[in-house]
């Protein structure tokens, strides 16, 4: 009798316990997707591709298997959600519009943090939208071409001084140089060269014209946009490009292209350093359209990720403006 009781006790406790755990686990899985976050070297998001019907709630259980990550959806107002190691964060999303959305990590979780992306395919009847090409494609720019400014200013151009100089420009010339289309399609060096060749502006010194360029760049953005861009830069760019823009971020030099362009016989990868935005020869010869192109398309094998699926167009232009601020002395 005692032995039978002992066996029942063991069976109830061990088998019953195991079954209870299994049932609890199973009931947790109904209509819920458990999304595991790991450093990209360890697999990134699992699963990385999710599908849901438009209008239907997507129940997510987010957990990290290593370090702190964060879950955010590109081009969305959905606030980023922190995912802590070993903890389960519950999140429900509903997508009204069919399409492909990108979710990504906003925490600097490792050298390959930016690779940590996944997609949510929202099915349903898609509303046709006008397909607008990015400006660099409209302009036919080769954004991968090597370029270097032939002329650079002796000292950092000043927006404040440029404003004063610009006020002296003939109105017609000023309107041309300050227009949005002109600004976006020309590099600072190109604008300076055109000013230098402008017969109406021969009385101005080289530095005064550089100051005027700085003012043109400043006047094509707003302090609010620059503030937002500063945050975006700190969140997404500074890890590689550095807080000062000098390309000296903590992960600079640790980026490796995914495939091709191999010059290293041992690793099959070459180290690609992040662009130095404080280098006038590089940035002053880059047009805003080309910068926007690099941002939305990415660096194609250089380690520079594509932000087109993450940032809105407005955010991208704000970031472009912010990148040039490393070259110009802002107005006080």
């Amino acid at each position: 009798m005692n032995e039978k009781l002992a066996r029942i006790f063991v069976i109830v406790l061990l088998l019953g316990g195991s079954i209870a755990i299994g049932i609890s686990w199973w009931s947790d899985q109904v209509d819920v997707i458990t999304l595991h976050a790991r450093m990209p070297e360890e697999g990134g998001w699992t699963p990385a591709d999710l599908t849901i019907e438009a209008g239907q709630p997507l129940h997510l259980h987010l957990t990290s298997d290593d370090v702190i990550h964060s879950f955010a959806i590109g081009q969305s107002d959905q606030p980023a959600v922190d995912i802590k190691p070993g903890e389960m964060t519950k999140l429900t999303l509903t997508f009204d519009q069919p399409g492909t959305y990108t979710f990504y990590c906003t925490r600097w979780c490792g050298a390959n943090h930016w690779r940590m992306r996944g997609t949510i395919i929202v099915t349903g009847e898609e509303v046709e939208q006008a397909d607008e090409s990015p400006l660099y494609l409209e302009l036919g720019l080769d954004i991968d071409a090597v370029h270097e400014a032939q002329v650079v200013p002796d000292e950092k151009p000043s927006v404040q001084r440029g404003k004063e100089t610009f006020a002296q420009f003939p109105i017609l010339n000023a309107q041309t140089y300050q227009s949005l289309d002109y600004y976006r399609s020309h590099s600072p060096e190109q604008v300076w060269q055109e000013m230098r060749g402008d017969e109406m502006l021969t009385s101005h010194t080289d530095q005064q014209l550089w100051d005027a360029v700085a003012f043109i760049w400043q006047s094509n953005t707003t302090p609010e946009a620059l503030l937002e861009a500063e945050e975006l830069y700190a969140e997404n760019c500074a890890a590689c490009h550095g807080v000062s823009g000098a390309g000296d971020g903590v992960f600079s030099g640790e980026q490796v292209p995914v495939t091709g362009e191999s010059h290293d016989s041992q690793t099959g990868h070459e180290i690609v350093h992040a662009t130095d935005f404080t280098d006038p020869y590089h940035i002053l010869s880059t047009s805003p359209a080309a910068s926007q192109g690099k941002l939305i398309r990415g660096g194609m094998g250089t380690g520079m990720p594509m932000w087109g699926v993450i940032s809105t167009e407005e955010q991208t232009w704000s970031l472009v403006s912010y990148l040039y601020s490393f070259q110009f002395e802002e107005a006080q």
């Binding site: 032995e3 006790f9 063991v10 061990l14 957990t63 298997d65 190691p85 070993g86 903890e87 389960m88």
Partner: protein, 459 residues
């Protein structure tokens, strides 16, 4: 004082149910640790397996069970239970079986453990094997689960092939040091009167009878003078027809004064434990990232260098230096005993030093990380459960201000205890003055070790 004079204690220990219930609950916890290792979060700080095995169980073992109850843990350990149940063909015990069954007869092959391995050298080896991979085992739930499953399989296998608890006695990596340190415990299981045993021709404490099994630890209770190999399973209490078993409260460290059965394998165990405490303190608690990385990168060249250094320190350097100290002591005291014999006997002074070193080491992280236990209880798999409402508790280190003082106290206490033990052992064959000369270099060794560990743990 014989605790069995208290009727309640005697009743609880003689009855098979209390012990059986605790073992089954511990087994459930053990299985949960395995399941959470395989299916739970790989984040160690949120996984039941890691937290319960390496923080909760370890804390109970090193801070309570071993110092106060010696092999008390072995009496309720779940690891050998499944193998033992198969071996015996019963879970609870004799009363439920057909009367008249030869209870000590194994249902497995029932072989005797090979004579050449009737020592703890294999346990020394199994501990070192686990210790070499400890950084990975202690931090990765899946690896912990694999190790626990391996323990279970080896224990079951040993029960099927050999008689009694061969795994516990000769293989268990933990059992080896528990046995060594159980010599310090303030409790002991002994016979009340050996004369009674002499007249008891059936020796049921060793062979078993209708009331219980023959000693699962292959110990002959009337001949027991140390705690080392008594698993406190209480079978002798149940099988003795003359009520001749006692559980005595005694002075701590009593077994160290017993001259009989001092052996090289046990002496080496003392070195292994001493060295491992120092290496763990450096690797797991020290500020040296390169060392941590090397210990963690199993299979790489840096890890091999780490493993080689670890084994060299523990198996050669520490015993070598100690041998030199003993040799100096022998020269100073002009002792006539062979150096090897002095080396072995003096190594028993390292037992209190080792236990206090492990207590001090454990204090470093047990209280600091104990809040994880509440979280793991509520959400053992890291699946987002909140069974007892404590899953959301953040990491809250406890007693961190007090810990260094406790550690210093424990280490100083251990050093004094070791010094006294060394002197006592030396005095067994020498007069006081010569004994002091013999033990002085050994005490110097203990002092240097204590200061080193103090530096590693506190400075």
């Amino acid at each position: 004082m014989n605790l069995l004079h208290i009727p309640l204690i005697k009743a609880l220990l003689k009855n098979r149910w209390p012990q059986f219930t605790i073992i089954v609950i511990a087994l459930a916890g053990f299985i949960l640790a395995i399941l959470s290792g395989f299916f739970g979060t790989p984040v160690g700080s949120r996984n039941f397996g890691i937290i319960f095995v390496w923080i909760a169980w370890w804390a109970i073992l090193m801070l309570v069970a071993v110092p106060f109850f010696g092999r008390g843990w072995c009496g309720i350990c779940p690891i050998p239970a499944p193998g033992e149940w198969i071996q015996r063909g019963a879970m609870l015990g004799p009363r439920g079986q057909a009367k008249g069954a030869t209870l000590s007869k194994s249902k497995g092959l029932g072989r005797r453990w090979p004579k050449r391995f009737r020592n703890i050298w294999l346990q020394n080896g199994s501990f070192l094997l686990v210790a070499l991979f400890s950084t990975v085992i202690l931090t990765q739930p899946r690896v912990t689960a694999i190790v626990l499953v391996a323990f279970l399989f080896v224990a079951v296998g040993a029960s099927l092939i050999f008689e009694r608890r061969a795994f516990c006695r000769y293989l268990c990596p933990v059992g080896g040091f528990i046995g060594l340190y159980s010599q310090l415990a303030p409790v002991e299981v002994r016979v009340v009167d050996t004369a009674v045993c002499k007249s008891h021709t059936e020796k049921t404490c060793y062979t078993g009878n209708d009331d219980g099994y023959g000693c699962p630890w292959d110990v002959f209770p009337p001949g027991m003078v140390k705690n080392t190999y008594c698993g406190t399973c209480m079978e002798c209490l149940r099988t003795c027809p003359h009520d001749n078993i006692a559980i005595n409260i005694r002075a701590i460290g009593t077994d160290l004064s017993v001259e009989r059965n001092r052996k090289l394998d046990e002496a080496y165990k003392a070195f292994i434990m001493l060295g491992a405490a120092a290496v763990y303190s450096a690797v797991l608690l020290g500020p040296w990232g390169t060392l941590k990385l090397a210990a963690y990168s199993v299979g790489t060249l840096p890890w091999m260098a780490y493993a080689t250094s670890f084994l060299t320190l523990i198996l050669l350097a520490l015993p070598g230096i100690f041998w030199l100290m003993v040799w100096f002591g022998k020269r100073l005291s002009d002792a006539s005993q062979p150096t090897k014999k002095l080396f072995i006997s003096q190594a028993y002074a390292l037992i209190p030093l080792g236990l206090t070193a492990w207590i001090a080491f454990s204090l470093s992280f047990v209280f600091a990380n104990f809040s994880y236990v509440l979280v793991a209880l509520s959400d053992p798999f890291g699946w987002g459960w909140d069974l007892i409402g404590t899953a959301g508790i953040g990491w809250t280190p406890w007693l961190t201000n007090l810990t260094p003082f406790l550690q210093v106290g424990v280490l100083v206490g251990g050093f004094i205890w070791a010094a006294i033990t060394s002197s006592k052992i030396a005095s067994e064959k020498l007069d006081a003055a010569r004994a002091a000369r013999l033990s002085t270099p050994v005490i110097g060794f203990c002092l240097v070790f204590t200061l080193t560990l103090m530096g590693l743990l506190i400075a």
